[in-house]
C-alpha cells in the first residue's frame, strides 16, 4: 500500500485547519467568565486528550484486525497508532499540568479522577514498547502486542465511563451528550481545534507508515537484487519490521 499517497494534501489541510483553529482561539472565542485568558489552554489540551484516547482505541482495533487476519501489516499499523497516541498523550499531560498550575496552583492534583485515570492509561500504554522489546521472536512479538493493544484499548472507554460516573470531581464538565454548556463561539472554536488535532494525528500516522513502508521496501529490494547476505540483520527492536 502507498501510504504516501494523498499525504501532501492531508498535510496542507492539517496546517490550514490548525492555523484557523489558533486564529479562532485568540481572535474569536470570547474570554471565559471564570477562568479568563487561561481557559485558552482548553482548545489545545482537550483535543489532544480526545485524540490520544481515540488513538489508543484505534490501535486496539488495528490489533484486533491483526489477530483476525494474521497479516503483519495490521500489527505495524497498530504499533504506529499507539506510538502516535502516546506522543499526543504526552502533549495532553504537559498542557494539562500547565493549566492545573495556572488554575489550581498545583502541577498535579492526585484527588482528581480524570487526571489520575489519564495517567494510568498513559502508564499502561507506556509498557507496550517494553513488552514488544522483551520478545525476540517477531511472530510472537506481534501476536502478544496485538493482544495487549486489544485489551488495553478496551480499557480506555471503560476507564472513561468510570471517571464520568465518579463523584466528586475537580475537572470541569463542559462536554456532554446533551451538548454541554459551551457557548456557540467557544464550541465552534473547540470543534475546529479538535478537527485540526485529529487531522494532525492522521497525517503523522500516515507519515510514519510511509517512512516505515519505504524503508521495508528498500530492504526488500536489496534482498531481491543482491541476495539475502547483502542485508544486515535488524537489531532487536520494539518496532515491527
Amino acid at each position: 500500500m502507498m501510504y504516501g499517497r494523498g499525504l501532501r494534501g492531508l498535510a496542507l489541510a492539517t496546517a490550514l485547519t490548525i492555523t484557523v483553529a489558533f486564529a479562532l482561539v485568540f481572535f474569536y472565542a470570547p474570554l471565559d467568565a471564570n477562568q479568563g485568558f487561561i481557559q485558552k489552554i482548553f482548545y489545545i489540551h482537550v483535543p489532544l486528550a480526545i485524540t490520544a484516547l481515540c488513538g489508543f482505541v484505534f490501535g486496539g482495533v488495528l490489533g484486533a484486525m491483526h489477530l483476525r487476519t494474521g497479516d503483519r501489516k495490521w500489527d505495524i499499523r497498530s504499533y504506529v497508532a499507539i506510538h502516535m497516541a502516546l506522543i499526543f498523550g504526552i502533549g495532553t499531560l504537559f498542557t494539562g499540568t500547565i493549566w492545573a498550575k495556572a488554575s489550581w496552583g498545583h502541577w498535579w492534583v492526585w484527588s482528581d479522577p480524570t487526571l489520575t485515570s489519564f495517567l494510568i492509561v498513559m502508564l499502561l500504554f507506556a509498557t507496550y514498547q517494553p513488552l514488544r522489546f522483551s520478545i525476540e521472536d517477531p511472530e510472537r512479538q506481534s501476536r502478544y502486542a496485538s493482544v495487549f493493544a486489544v485489551v488495553a484499548g478496551a480499557f480506555v472507554p471503560l476507564n472513561f465511563l468510570a471517571v464520568r460516573l465518579a463523584q466528586p470531581y475537580v475537572h470541569p464538565r463542559v462536554l456532554t451528550l446533551t451538548g454541554g454548556n459551551l457557548p456557540g463561539p467557544m464550541r465552534l472554536t473547540f470543534v475546529v481545534a479538535l478537527v485540526g488535532v485529529a487531522l494532525l494525528y492522521v497525517t503523522l500516522w500516515k507519515y510514519e507508515m510511509a517512512a516505515k513502508s519505504t524503508r521495508a521496501q528498500v530492504r526488500a529490494l536489496r534482498r531481491m537484487l543482491l541476495g539475502e547476505d547483502s542485508v544486515t540483520p535488524l537489531k532487536r527492536s520494539a518496532a515491527p519490521s
Binding site: A33, I38, F94, V109, P168, R215, R222, L226
Partner: protein, 82 residues
Amino acid sequence: MSVFAVAPALPLHAAGKYVAGAYIVFLAIVLIYVAIMATRLARTERELIELRRDVEERRRQEDGSAPSERSGSSDREREPVA
C-alpha cells in the same frame, strides 16, 4: 462547588505565560517528532544510495565477465532512483 469553578481568573500578564507555554509545548512536540522523522528519512536515503551503488557495482562486474550483454542496460542505468 468544584475548585475549578471558584478559581479566580488570572490577570493577562500572569495567564499569558501559561497559555504561551501550553501552545509552545504542543508546537515543540510536533517539531521534535518531525525532526526525528527527518533523521530516519535521511537514513533511508543513505540506504537507497548504498543500494544503487551496490547494484551498479554488481552490474559492472557482470558486464566485465559478459561484455556482449552490455547493450540495452544503459537506459536503465540513467534512471533516477528517487
